[in-house]
Symmetry: C3
Subunit: 146 residues, 3 copies
Amino acid sequence: MKIISSFIELDTGEGISLHDIMPDIKLAVAKSGIKNGFVTVTSQHTTTAITINEYEERLLDDVKTFLTSLIPPNNSYLHNDIALRDCPEDEPENAHSHLAAMLLGSSEVIALAEGVLVLGQYQSVMLYELDGPRKRQVSVQVYGEE
Amino acid sequence: MKIISSFIELDTGEGISLHDIMPDIKLAVAKSGIKNGFVTVTSQHTTTAITINEYEERLLDDVKTFLTSLIPPNNSYLHNDIALRDCPEDEPENAHSHLAAMLLGSSEVIALAEGVLVLGQYQSVMLYELDGPRKRQVSVQVYGEE
Amino acid sequence: MKIISSFIELDTGEGISLHDIMPDIKLAVAKSGIKNGFVTVTSQHTTTAITINEYEERLLDDVKTFLTSLIPPNNSYLHNDIALRDCPEDEPENAHSHLAAMLLGSSEVIALAEGVLVLGQYQSVMLYELDGPRKRQVSVQVYGEE
C-alpha cells in the first residue's frame, strides 16, 4: 500500500466561514498517483470542523445563522474565564467554537475508485472555520494502489 | 491490500426516516472475502447522514421529534428562496435537511477483524434520510486481507 | 499492510463525562510498530461518542452544560417507556444519551506519519460518556507499514 501525506493550508474568514477544499483534495489525489484506495481528511485544530455537504452560497449563510443561534457566542462558558485557566492572557474566548466543532466532527474518510473520489454530485468536503480569521491546516492522506 | 467497492441502494421513507443498513454491509463484507481490515461507509447525498446507533423503533421516533424541534423545517432559510438561486425551479426547500446532515455526519469507518465488524452488541450502521422519500446510494468499500 | 487490533477499556464517570484516550492510543501505536498508515477509533456503545477536541477541564464542564440544555434528560422520549419495549425491565431511561451520541459521532480516523498521529497541538481524542458510570470499550485498530 502506498501512502502519501500532505497538508492543505488556508487563510480563513471572520468568525464562522466555510471553505470548499475539494479542489485541494483532488489535486492531492492526482499528485499521489493512487487510483484505488481511500483518503482521510482530518482537521488540525479544535475550533474547525470537516464536513461533507453542498457548497452553496445561501446555505453557507444558513449554517452561520443556525450555529450562532444553537450555541450563542455570548452565553456564559467556563472555558471563557481566561484568567482562571493556565494559558496565555490573550487566549480567545471561543468555547462556542469548540462546542460547534465537536458537533460537526473533525474527520471524514472517502473511498477512491479508479482515481475518482466516491462522492455524490452535490457533495463537497469543506473546512468549517468556527473562530476565524486564522491560518489553518488540514491533513489529507491518500492510501492505496496505482 | 485488496479493495472491494460497492453501493447500497435503497428507497427511503417520507421526511425523516432511519434505515438499518447493517445487513447490506455484512453482505458486502462476506462477498469481499476480506477477513482483516476495515470498511468505509459514506453517504452519497447532502441531505442524508450515516450514523452508528441502536436501531430501536421507539428511539427512531425520538430522533424525528428531536431533529424537527432542533432545526424546524418551516423556519426561514436563505437556501429555500429557490427563485434567488441558480438551480431548477422544482428544487426542494430543504435547508433544514442539509443542516441536520452536517451535524450527524456523512461517513463512518469500522474495523474488521476475523471477518466480523468490530462493533458493540447494540450498534447498527444506519442511513438517516432527512428529506425523503428518494432513491439513495451509500458507498461501502471493504479494504484488507483474506 | 500490517493490521493490529486492540481495545481500550475504561470505567467512566457519572452521567456525562469526558475521558482523554490519547495516551492509550499512542501506546497502541507504539506497540504496533507501525510507522506510516492510519488509526481507526470506534466506540463500541450506543450511548458514548468519540470526538477530537481540546481536553481542558473547564471546557469539559461547558460540554456537560451544553448537552444537558440541548437534549434535556427529563424531556418525554418514547424510548424511555421501558414497559412498552421488548427489553429487560431495568433498562436505563437514556434516550437523551443516544441522541447526543448520534450528534457527536462514533468514529474518527487519524493519519499516522513517521510514527506520529497527524493531529494539531491542542487536539486530543476523547471518549464522551453520555450515560455513565459504566465499563466501556473503544476499538483502536492501527494499519500500515513499519
